[in-house]
Amino acid sequence: MSWHAAPAEAWRALGANRLRTGLTMLGMIIGVGAVVLMLAVGEGARSTVTQAINEMGSELLLVSPGTSSSGGLRLSSGTASTLTLKDAEAMTQLPTLSAVAPVFYSGAQLAYGPRNWNTTVYGVTPDYLLVRSWNLESGQPFMISDVLRSTRVALIGQQIVQSLFGDQDPLGQTIRIKNLPFRVIGVLERKGQSLDGRDQDDVVLVPINTAQTKLFGNLFPGTVRFITVQARSMGHMEDAEADITQLLRNRHRLAEGVESDFTIRDLTAVAETAAQSAQAMTVMLGAIASVSLLVGGIGIMNIMLVSVTERTREIGIRMAIGARRRDILLQFLLEALLLCVLGGLVGTLMGIGGAWLVSGLAEMTVIVTSSSIALSFLFAASTGVFFGFYPARKAALLKPVEALRHE
């Protein structure tokens, strides 16, 4: 049979039993749709993580109080209070470090006019913005002099702007934090979600001394929750870690063999782990979705087998008038392929639609990439060929007399 006539024949054969064709295709639609959707969800997660890593800043070490065994691996450890502002000051002398940012934070209520908002207030030094590679959208940062003099100035995140000010310009306005007036001197750029899913824009930064002395009654004066430090370069990371360990053990007077009362974590490594697990999630989601594609493929094989049996006589007639084995093979293979490709087409559209819905309803980042579409299409087509081959071969190998005698 000429190659251009075969698709038309296949199309007609599928049209002869629309309900069955539709139901068989549904299996394929669901399979391909699921693959597209799952890959989109996985890709979205991956890109969220990647973005979070880029926003985080690089060459970072996180020094937090508590032993590594008791602190576990939580990013926000720090129940013990062994780390002080003085430790941070001492660390600034280390040549392997380019920035040292001690942080003290606590929850607090904000008020501006009649509006209230609960948020986390961070007491930081000017280095904090540096290590987080965080820029101001407007206004200016506070200086080290603000820290030393415990001035009541604040930098506010995008979420705070939205919640307290709406369209109003917050610069120069006075907000109340735990009823104390603070002047807004800067607005932070949007930062998005952190690796552990916190909204980083829901934040107020104030000088650390202000936070410790005026805002929060600190049980252990001078202690901090953690210190983020930046190494001079990627190559200095290990040296920096060793220097910090030595410095802090000396300052804390820890004897040889005693466990350190602080923990140092390489944030880049943490981020990489997160990126890897996001990647693994994409693969796993794709694999799960592939199972439904497999089930769809088996459905196609089933229907094609039924079709070959039903049309045995037709096959006999075609052979009697000169169809070769490859003509019959091609005919049934094309029918299976057409089922899969059409199903794949509709499934892809459904998957894209589903991705759009998920991103809207669940407020997740969902990314449909062209490679995921190509992948699922290729998958659909190969499913058609793979599962269509056996029935088609069965048809092609029928003996003409026996096929004609059928029924």
């Binding site: 049979m1 075609r318 052979m319 008038i321 000169g322 003409p400 007399v401 004609l404």
Partner: protein, 253 residues
């Protein structure tokens, strides 16, 4: 339909038929045997040592009681089935040596098969049914359409070209089947009880059509029938009994 005349005495109408050159036969069968396996083991013989030669342009009727092996023989001649022993040459070529593809091409170009049950594809139109052998011959669309038109004209069914087979009468369907058998201008037509499902009047029309093809186009015809009236259209009669040829000669029915 009125274009088909029904001759009252078919043999008398064609006095020259059947007297053709028999030096190089179109069909040459020697020592042909066919048996089917029995359910409990062993085999049941259906054709024993068949010898037959048919020259180009002959019109042969095959008769015999039910179960005598006529259809089995026709299927082997039509390359739809293979014998267990013996030699079959079609136009001087030994069929036994051919592979599946070559046999398919042979069925496509060298012969047309007409069945008792018409065997048209129900999903396809009349014109498409007629053009199907051309499709498998790799002929282009325009030419297929043109040739299908010609063929339908020949059997007087041009006006039903777009109809489905089940919209036609039995006689009309059989004429479509004959048109399809003629598609690639084969030298040979094999017809297994082509009038078996038709009434006498329609049978006469179909036989007249066969006769015309034989006389006007020199197409060799082998036709199985149970009815003496039908066999009388032929110029030669071969009688089967229990898988053997018991008569080969004049049409003495």
């Amino acid at each position: 339909m009125s274009s088909l005349r029904i001759p009252l005495s078919p043999s008398a109408s064609f006095p020259l038929a059947g007297k053709r050159d028999e030096s190089s036969p179109l069909i040459q069968v020697a020592g042909l045997c066919k048996h089917y396996p029995l359910v409990g083991g062993g085999t049941t013989p259906v054709l024993h040592d068949i010898h037959l030669a048919v020259a180009p342009g002959e019109f042969v009727a095959l008769m015999g009681p039910s179960g005598s092996g006529k259809s089995t023989f026709m299927n082997i001649l039509g390359c739809l089935d293979v014998p267990n022993a013996g030699e079959y040459q079609l136009a001087g070529q030994s069929v036994a040596q051919m592979d599946h593809n070559e046999l398919a091409v042979l069925r496509n170009r060298q012969m047309g098969f007409v069945f008792q049950g018409f065997n048209l594809l129900q999903r396809s139109s009349i014109a498409e049914n007629v053009a199907l052998p051309l499709l498998y011959a790799g002929i282009g669309k325009a030419e297929r359409r043109q040739r299908a038109h010609e063929l339908l004209e020949q059997v007087g069914l041009v006006h039903r070209a777009e109809a489905r087979p089940n919209q036609l009468s039995g006689g009309q369907q059989q004429r479509v089947a004959i048109a399809r058998a003629l598609a690639n201008r084969p030298p040979l037509i094999l017809a297994d009880e082509p009038t078996g499902n038709l009434d006498t009047q329609t049978s006469g029309e179909i036989m007249a059509l066969f006769n015309r093809l034989n006389v006007e186009q020199g197409i060799t015809l082998l036709l199985v029938t149970h009815e003496p009236d039908i066999a009388r259209y032929a110029r030669r009669l071969v009688r089967f009994k229990d898988g053997r040829i018991v008569h080969d000669g004049e049409v003495n029915v």
